[in-house]
Amino acid sequence: MSFSESHKFSAEGIAHIARIIDQINLGIWEYNTDTKEVKWSSGFYSALGYTPGEIECSYNFFFDQLLYYHDKQIFLKATHHPRQGGSPVAHIRLLTKQNGYQWFESTTQKHDAADGPVIYGVLTNINALKISQIRAAEAEFKSNEIGRIAKIGSWEIDTATMGLTFSKEMYDIFELNTQVKMSVEEAISFFEPQFRQVLTNVINDALNYCKPYDIELLFKTAKNNVIWVRSKGIPVINDHGKCITIRGIFQDIDSIKRKGITLQSSITLLDDQNKRLQNFAYIVSHNLRSHSGNLKFMVNLFEEAKLGEERTEIFSHIKTISESLSATMGHLDEIVRIQSEISRERKLLDFETIFNNVASALHTNIDRTNAVINTDFSGCPQVEYIPAYLESILQNLLTNAIKYKHPNRNPVINIATQKVGNDVYLVFEDNGIGIDMQRHGDQLFGMYKTFHQNSDSKGIGLFITRNQVEALGGSIQVDSTVNVGTKFTVRLV
């Protein structure tokens, strides 16, 4: 029940109410629109920092001196609201004695009294509230701005309903114009297929085991742009340790990630090249050293040997060393040439044609071993490559397959080409003696690395093949089982 309904006011009662009005810590005022008479409560003065009588109590003084000019319109609109009994609220700034303009909430009410229409009003200082509101709005604006600049959105999953809420920036990253509500599954469907399960798993782990996560994923926006994003989720737990909310950020890290990926691949490439060069220098030094050591050894022996036939024998070894030295120099030339030939023009080559050239050059070896060679170049009949390289690669692999045939069976060699995306693969499979990958896998393509007791193994072929393949940006991979066979998979381009 309200005051006005329950009271029948006596004169004493009215005086009492007037005292209450004066003492209450609110600015209460009354304005007769006909007589222009104005009454302000003591609280009105004190709200503005004055004592009663210190300032002129008039409508004009209030309107001209106290009310901030910008808020006049708002105040007039609220005060002269046509609706009887309504209490329109306006937020206005009034000049205080000590603290400059402060925010007040103004509530007004119209009432028709015997001596004309009267407007009553109450002023409450809401400065602190208003300032914090403004600050909050600024902070929100700033945080949105920061999110926009950093391309970071924020999101929340309420575990009770599995409802998903997004900040505005989330929609910008999703490239969605309208801020539609989305389910968790719908949001996950924006990620590239190979990442959907990953994301589902980490979200489930966060839900069930309160495990936070921080992962990088490929994401396809509503406009079909595929970008790298970072998703970080932190479970918020209740008193019982149950996850009630997952809160997280979502960031577009595409440019950073792509730069990182490019950088990483150049580092890997440089690293590989560096290792190869180091290995190369080591091998050259080792190989030349062993020849020159032998040469010195034989020359000394030659001097010590007394018998003519001994000397002849020693001299024949010196000749062999001289030949080995020339061969080593030849290998070095070949490796240097690989590097210099990179810039040679690539041509569109027929696998069939090149292979037939190679096979006819090796026909004596093929015939002698009764080798069966099956080729299938239909998967990719042609490739843009440096002709000398392709010939050399095919020749080395074919020579190897024949050289390391199994002693108990004729060689069967299957050669095929494949196109996967933009990559061209050459697959070379034999049924030879195979190689122990566990023991020799990492040395297989090393220079002068030989693994079989085979007098014509020089350890140069695969070394050169790998250099040629890698010089043109490809790669070579090998699978092998001892006594079963070997399979080389060469990614040419």
Binding site: R289, K296, F297, M298, L301, Q453
Partner: protein, 144 residues
């Protein structure tokens, strides 16, 4: 040379035929060893040592190259360690190589099984010293 010297058999384990030839020739000319066996890789040497039929003709010293096909010097060292206790003879092992890679040198020197690491071309004087110490068993104590 002292008449009390015992007979010394050496073994060379290396796939380099020229080096093997030179080694045998040199030791013959210098009269360093009474007999020199040769094996073209680690596996051949291990197979020979393991065979009980060869128990009476085991070498006193083996010079084992590092770079060899089938079974290289490192693998030989490991295999030798396993059969060492079953051999009726204490056999000295030297690693030999053209490799001046510090890692290789350290690896051999850190192996208590290996008497030393010799760089190719082999130092004649050092070889003679090794032969002398084997011929005169009192000097051998330091290896036992």
């Amino acid at each position: 040379m002292n008449t009390e010297n015992k007979n010394v058999t050496a073994g060379i384990v290396d796939d380099d035929e020229i080096f093997t030839y030179g080694f045998k020739k040199l030791t013959t000319i210098k009269g360093l060893f009474d007999k020199t066996l040769n094996f073209s890789n680690g596996k051949q040497a291990i197979d020979f040592l393991k065979d009980p039929q060869n128990a009476h003709r085991l070498p006193d010293v083996l010079f084992v190259d590092i770079n060899m096909p089938v079974m290289n010097g490192w693998e030989f060292n490991d295999a030798f360690e396993e059969i060492k206790s079953q051999l009726g003879k204490n056999i000295l092992i030297y690693n030999i190589s053209s490799s001046i890679d510090l890692e290789d040198i350290k690896r051999a020197k850190n192996n208590p099984l290996i008497a030393d690491y010799l760089l190719k071309p082999i130092d004649e004087l050092y070889l003679a010293e090794i032969a002398r110490s084997l011929q005169n068993p009192t000097d051998r104590r330091r290896y036992n």
